[in-house]
Symmetry: C2
Subunit: 565 residues, 2 copies
Amino acid sequence: MNTWFNDHKSTLDNAIEACQKRHHWAAYPEVPSEKIYGEGSKQAGEDAFNALQNKPFALSVPMSEAAFVAADAKSPYGIELGITYPQLPVDKLLEGAEAAQKQWRRLDTDTRAGVCLEMLDRLAKQSFLMAHAVMHTTGQPFVMSFQAGGPHALDRGLEAVAYAYQAQTANETSAEWAKVVGKNRDGEKIVATLDKHYKTRGKGIGVVIGCATFPTWNSYPGMFADLATGNAVISKPAEGATLPLAIAIDIMRQVLADAGLNPDLVQLANTGGERAYTQALVKDARVKMIDYTGGPGFGTWLQNNCPDTQLYLEQAGINNIFIESTDNVKGMANNIGFSLSLYSGQMCTAPQNIYVPKDGIDTPDGKLSFDEVAAAIAKSVEKLLGDDNRAFAILGAMTSDAVKARVGEANAFGEQAGKVVLASCESDYAAFPNASTAKPILISLDSPDHDFAQAEQFGPVAFVIACEDRDDALTAVCDSIEKHGAMTTSLYCTDADFKQTAIEEIADAGSPLSINLTGGIYVNQSAAFTDFHGSALNPAANTSLTDLGFVAQRFGWVTVREERH
Amino acid sequence: MNTWFNDHKSTLDNAIEACQKRHHWAAYPEVPSEKIYGEGSKQAGEDAFNALQNKPFALSVPMSEAAFVAADAKSPYGIELGITYPQLPVDKLLEGAEAAQKQWRRLDTDTRAGVCLEMLDRLAKQSFLMAHAVMHTTGQPFVMSFQAGGPHALDRGLEAVAYAYQAQTANETSAEWAKVVGKNRDGEKIVATLDKHYKTRGKGIGVVIGCATFPTWNSYPGMFADLATGNAVISKPAEGATLPLAIAIDIMRQVLADAGLNPDLVQLANTGGERAYTQALVKDARVKMIDYTGGPGFGTWLQNNCPDTQLYLEQAGINNIFIESTDNVKGMANNIGFSLSLYSGQMCTAPQNIYVPKDGIDTPDGKLSFDEVAAAIAKSVEKLLGDDNRAFAILGAMTSDAVKARVGEANAFGEQAGKVVLASCESDYAAFPNASTAKPILISLDSPDHDFAQAEQFGPVAFVIACEDRDDALTAVCDSIEKHGAMTTSLYCTDADFKQTAIEEIADAGSPLSINLTGGIYVNQSAAFTDFHGSALNPAANTSLTDLGFVAQRFGWVTVREERH
């Protein structure tokens, strides 16, 4: 443990610098190549994944006295997982966390950072195993599973460690304080001197409630923010997405054990699918922070039932694209088509509603009509996913039956209320004949006044919506952000003045904004150290991954001052 | 407005440096001297105060359409104030705040900081007027009213501006982001380049609910934190303590008007004593942050009724002194006696329970018995307040009839359950014959198991409590912090090993700690830039004045990224 901070210090320094300068930087390589990850690493990852199936998930450092209870059942790609995971009673989990935390919170900031950095480093080495685990719990395509489940998630975790480190080193931990408090009879100044020390203490146990689509990417920030600021963490995976977090927790507990620390600092909450278990856990007074990614139903429950607990929530939203004009119709259509297709639209950053003035948009070749815009996007999706191998690599599988059902509902709505510009259909994957798939459905609507489209339709469902004119479209987009929330907004505009107006209005509404994306960068992508994921300014998320606000309330400062004699 | 940031930049720089180094520093002079504040400033302040009485408080920049409604009635020093203050309907207040905020949140961080610094500077110039206003609404003695109501409060406001500035300048506001996204057919790298801009936006309207005893000291941090991070602020004074905040708001609105900004950015909520008014205000969805200092009853109401609002709460607590041993009995007794007497114990930092091992404490002259410790403290209070002029300067007056009644209740309890070591009595102030006064009552108890002493008895009420031994005393102190909360803890201890144990245990329990105070610094005092007031780690306060956690969630970052063509 003693050398870890120094071993990884350059990584931490680079991360802090990148958070500040916000240039492109990554600590963990995103290319799933054996040149980087070592010869045989690819096969080793697959073998390790296969070896986990159809048996209890035995942590290397067991959670003592845990029973084994099933969690993930079937992969979205159609294979049975059949894994059971350790389960402890809620009180036992909390007792373990408190005991481990007592020791952990007294360590200094550097030591805790060193342990976190070692955890990230060891997790990075298992990125191929993690890729399979993420793929077969979430339905993500393989390369995305590798990147978003491994290095990109780890970058987000590192980002949280970097911010936590900054917040805890924002002031000196000791000071000499001297003040003239009067004069003696000879007129000499009387100086009172205090020696002051400033100690951080974590606020208490953190619970991180994961989501079904990005179990590690959305959990690591909260987990590492909690740990780095001196708290124990209990990870509660979403139903069906336990394996990636069980693997991560296993590795983190090994690191703690190697350091001679109590491994119960990081524990898995396997609820066995019982919401009452989760509710008892989060309502306990020992839990001081909850990070939650998921639907607003349970988010609202948390707000109403945990009034004394700091909540970091990422919930539902509707992401909009506003097409005002473009100088590159083809690039725009391809970029949007990819954004709609990637992981079957099952990203909190995926666009849903595409606002277009009803009289069409300006292009270098003159006006493109509303219908032509819709057709161009539909065509790009069709072409992109026409080949099943490419569809396999981009579309992936649907994470739940609810998403699948939604495509059918959208089709029924589209046929009745608008026009189905692009029908959804399945895709065939040679390797996984039982995968649950659906290509995006695209529906055009004559106005923003359709309730179905003005609700989040999570999955491969999108709408092209006609507005009176560009001012109306801007108003509709901003109203939608304020009312429904948004994790992303996308704008296509070649009019510099209007663009500036839109930037300020959308910033006021509080959404991150991407402008004129026509190449290989997509609105769905949110990268650590450069993109604030969520603005904390609209209903989709009350926090950002990651800024100082995400970490600074997870610990407190204790001032200890002593009179010098 | 354009020069203010540069005019005051050195003040900001010094404040940021002091927050980081935590040495003694103050921006606004604490000595109520005309040498500093200008010839005639003392009389001018008194005249200005007298001129305000018995009439409507006319803001220089009126809150348009406001009616005038009474608020503060009678000074704790017995004089009638007879002032009415502008009152607007809740919805009107919020509309005004929203309109003003639209403009304000788009300004850059420097410009907003400049306006805040100019406000603080102009407020500082009115410190004599403010002293009278604070004295006659809270009952503080005059010099304390000057210091805690003026310069010390302004230092706390400046501290919030400094932290807000740091949080908003933690990263660059623009970046060039370039990433290799592939290779072309000739093997050349394809680089995607995005221009990124990062904009802050305030979260929304902040409401700051003041307390009856320190209207400015406890309100300025929230008010300036809200303003500096781009939000409008509505100040809701405690009943009877409106005048100091009305004066402050008047000056702040003048600064805004001089800058050509909408003065409704800062407004007064005069509730006319109606709690329903306050409840309607804080429950409105436009209100995003609430700073509250006051009793836990309304604090809990806020937690249960404003689940979606960020709350910064300072509530009740019990502050303990733990006497294990000392090398300076007289210095200790005098220091404690002063702490109990200052402003009649009506400070959130004032000690209440003094834990002493039942077999007494070690001193250079051998054991001092439990009863002797209690007697020494009682004697120091008696001597300190024996002279009415000195009592006037230290004790001040009681802020409410509730505090006065509490002294009687404590006396009844003491006679029945313990021993009244020092009886309370009134003090006579020549200048204010009708002042409501009470010197501290000191009661000794044979164990910590008395409910009356294990509840906050806000005012001049203190207990000396016998414990089995020092370990029991430490346990009692830590349990009390965790259960009841504490803003301060004080320890007297000459045993280096035990002291170190106590420091870590008390830090775990989460209270600020002062050790071996025997001179002119008191446990009640909490100074900006060096002492974190509140640790955010125990029930007395969920936040600290001021750290990054106090400011960083009051605004969000909007990422705007545009593809470079």
